[in-house]
Amino acid sequence: MSKDLFRMTLKEAAGFLSSPENFSALHKSLTDRAGAVDAKVKAYTQLNHDGKDFLAKTPRNGKPLWGVPVSVKENICTHGWETTCSSKILKGYIPPYDATVIRKLRDQGAFLFAKCNMDEFAFGSSSETSAFHPTFNPWDLERVPGGSSGGSAACVAADEAICALGSDTGGSVRQPASLCGVVGMKPTYGRVSRFGLIAFGSSLDQIGPLTKNVEDNAILLGAIAGHDPLDSTSANVPVPDYTKSLVKDVKGLRIGLPKDYFISGIDPEVEAAVREAAKVYEQLGATIKEISLPHTKYGVAVYYVVATAEASSNLARFDGVQYGFRYPTDNLLDMYVETRDQGFGQEAKRRILLGTFVLSAGYYDAYYLRAQKVRTLIKQDFENAFKEVDVILCPTSPSTAFKVGEKMNDPLSMYLSDIYTISSNLAGVPALSVPCGFDSKGLPIGFQLMGKYFDEPTMYRAAYSYEQTMHWYERKPKL
């Protein structure tokens, strides 16, 4: 057996895991790999060393994902396993229940291998706001892996994971996937249950898979998608077999290139790579059409009103009463204000305060209501575009991985790095980041495919066709 078991894809691992011995071998290989590289990458907050316990509790019984190690973002609740959102305020919080996606994975035999670092409460695009430590980009350890699911993307890129789950509120799966050179999907809003995902922006959040290739992504999404009676916003739409979409055929596929996305501020190397990808699609038989999503430029403004408003309310429950950190005092008001002062980091405070402000008396109409109206216009942009094209192709991020610390003191410029990913959350449409080359510094570039509601199959087909033509996934970071 190869000593590089940790390099396996999900598909390969599922095939390999035919016995407890093979599970133990893979578990050991991954653990060793994490031991070797995670001191540098720092993708993980916690590792599961208890393979014996898993084997004792999980008979194989034909479970399709039996033994497959899955790494999970710190904001997805795992029964009996600390879930902190990489925040001091949730230190020591051990959920008494599994998120629906975790329950589904466990039911299918998966092994929860690790918890992945993230920006505190998913507030960030660089994984630097974690209360524990920053995560670093496996391609260049002086650079960020993106965020907020930076740990989930970095662990997959560094081959210290087989696959991972992240969450995406404004690009938090796709942007780090792009910056780390892996495949990351934000499914249609309502496609995957949010039950057990610690909420940031409830009307925007989706859990999504981060994987080494498109096929793995399709398998993992299939494993977690579906209607959940515990989530009122989960859609009662049948889940197709996404692996059936993995065909190399885009003949006749209409691909839109939104002119509003190729504007000043975009890194020329990123633009060139995405335009090059469009050419590849044309050669494969797709038609490329220029389209317009005219309200794109308002996306960031709308997002930072809507997402922070929801977050300010969602994070109000972290008050020290029932769980997590509590500032010791016998004064009730002090318990609140000190717990929340000491428990939250700077970016969390900034967003909670912004969200509180836009909902407050006298400002609701001017900010929150107006933003929800412009959100309608953004949604209509997509509805109009999808009358003409099947998928939309654009960059995932305006630049490749930036240096650690580079944007930490300028929140607005950090927010603007989400400009291409935010709109699909606001509209609820699915979006997928796929590696499409490297810049002159050797950093990965990703393109983004956006699709119609629940049309993940078409996106997977398009992504697979490109991936199997270009094979970018063959290149690995040197660690």
């Binding site: 959920p95 610690i198 929801e310 309310s313 429950r317 008050d319 029932q322 609140y336 909902l359 609701y364």
Partner: protein, 480 residues
């Protein structure tokens, strides 16, 4: 001080717990009295990651109550978050309804001494109850029990159409009766399933503008509502008379002291930042559905009262008293169905049985006397098996033991004596030992016969049929 120059303006906010089996947004039981925090789950504890799903029965009850309160029923409704921090509110927001309540613009009719009065209902909206803070017996701390958290509430807000404490009392009695008839709430104030806040202001009679209101909280009974309003009217009048201004504030009613006390709260801090609850989708209610529900509404108190007046010829007072509690009215009609005369049932129920239950601190719920048994007792009198007097001795035994009246009458040998020969013998004996009364009777003082009948009853331990005893005595007197 003259209160006459001021007109009180009163509005009430009533919270009723809807009697669903499970909570409004999760499947935990709503049963009262369980051990602390045992009826909780990640959802009602507001644990991170949990999400609400609406209990359809709670919405159904809301619609049902809305229809009965003559409200418009929303075609489209949504839920909103009301954000504030308090240890009994685990998510630090309450899921409530802000601008699209399930029911709005309705009314209910109350009976006052000046006739019927229509009281506007501003709105009725669904929301989740909070947990319970306990302070007693704990030093320097409070503890929280979240069992109540997530129990469905319907908040019913009246227009400021009430003018007197009596109006307020009557409004609450009427509202409670309606909700009980609908079987949407058990309205048990002791267990907190019905709670009330009162908004009170006063203005000079004839003035158009409302005065500044105070909101009174901590009202534990309808009597407390009336008393606190009376107190507040007087307090505000005193404030105005002394040339000062009433301040808008929340005041707590202290039942022992009979006073409202200012909470001196930081009112400016109240900014609930309502916004649409993103975790719940909107709801639509078709007009067809409203009509279907309307058809299933039971007879409501006012209609029942009219029927009682018409069909049973009860007095206004008795009819009102009986229907204002559904259980009383149901009991009353069961007794009638078992064969007794309505007016007699009404009398025996309201003056005798309730009297006995009252002294025993019992209610019809715990009462051992079934409606059928009470009916049986009344029918024993009608059939002259026992006298009314004996019946009054039998009823307490029924209340005590739960035995049916026939058994008691048999066991105690209380059957009325109708044996003519036996009564004749007693009459002769009475005439013999009471020559003075006999002489009085014969000299025209007919009232003397009353005394002689009384003696006969005494002799028979009350078991003689009074009419028969009277008749036989007269016969014997003529013969003597």
């Amino acid at each position: 001080m003259s209160l006459e120059k001021y007109e009180p303006v009163i509005g009430l906010e009533v919270h009723v717990q809807l009697q669903t089996k499970s909570k409004i947004f999760c499947s935990c039981s709503t049963k009262f009295g369980a051990e602390a925090n045992t009826q909780t789950c990640p959802i009602c504890l507001g644990l991170p990651g949990s999400l609400p799903v609406l209990n359809e029965q709670a919405l159904y009850y809301g619609i049902k109550a809305g229809i009965a309160l003559n409200c418009h029923i929303a075609e489209r409704l949504k839920f909103d978050r009301k954000n504030y921090f308090y240890p009994d509110l685990p998510k630090a927001y309450q899921i409530s309804q802000f601008d699209m309540p399930v029911a709005y613009r309705g009314w209910l009719m109350i009976e006052t001494k000046d006739g019927n009065k229509k009281i506007g209902i501003t709105r009725a909206h669904l929301e989740e109850d909070a947990g319970k803070l306990i302070h007693e017996g704990i030093k320097d701390a409070s503890v929280v029990d979240y069992n109540r958290c997530g129990t469905p509430l319907l908040e019913i807000v009246s227009e400021p159409d009430l003018r007197t404490p009596e109006d307020a009392y009557e409004y609450l009695t009427t509202l409670k009766a309606i909700l009980e008839y609908l079987e949407v709430s058990d309205c048990n104030m002791d267990e907190g399933s019905l709670r009330c806040d009162a908004n009170v202001s006063i203005r000079l009679r004839g003035a158009e503008k409302f005065g500044t209101k105070a909101e009174i909280k901590n009202l534990n009974s309808f009597k407390a509502v009336a008393k606190s309003i009376q107190y507040e009217i007087e307090r505000q009048a005193e404030v105005l008379e002394s040339g000062e201004r009433v301040i808008q504030e929340t005041r707590l009613w202290n039942d022992e002291k009979g006073q409202t006390i200012s909470m001196r709260s930081k009112e400016e801090a109240h900014d609930y930042r309502y916004f649409p609850e993103p975790d719940l989708v909107p709801f639509t209610i078709s007009r067809q559905r409203v009509e279907e529900i309307r058809k299933t509404l039971p007879e409501l108190p006012q209609a029942r009262e009219e029927r009682f007046l018409r069909d049973y010829k009860l007095s206004n007072y008795d009819a009102h008293v009986l229907v204002s509690d559904k259980k009383h009215a149901d009991y009353f009609e069961q007794a009638i169905r078992a064969g007794a005369d309505p007016k007699k049932v009404s009398n025996w129920l309201t003056s005798e049985l309730f009297g006995l239950l009252n002294t025993r601190k019992e209610t019809l719920d715990t009462c051992k006397v079934s409606a059928k048994a009470l009916s049986g007792l009344i029918q024993l009198i009608d059939k002259q098996v026992i006298s009314g007097k004996i019946a009054k001795e039998v009823l307490p035994i029924m209340v005590e033991t739960g035995k049916d009246p026939e058994t008691i009458v048999k066991e105690k040998g209380l059957v009325q004596v109708t044996d003519t020969k036996f009564l004749e013998d007693i009459a002769k004996k009475i005439i013999e030992v009471n020559p003075k009364s006999v002489a009085d009777f014969k000299s025209g003082k007919t009232a003397a016969i009353g005394f002689l009948v009384g003696q006969m009853m005494k002799e028979t331990k009350g078991k003689a049929n009074p009419a028969l005893a009277n008749q036989i005595l007269e016969q014997q007197l003529k013969k003597s």
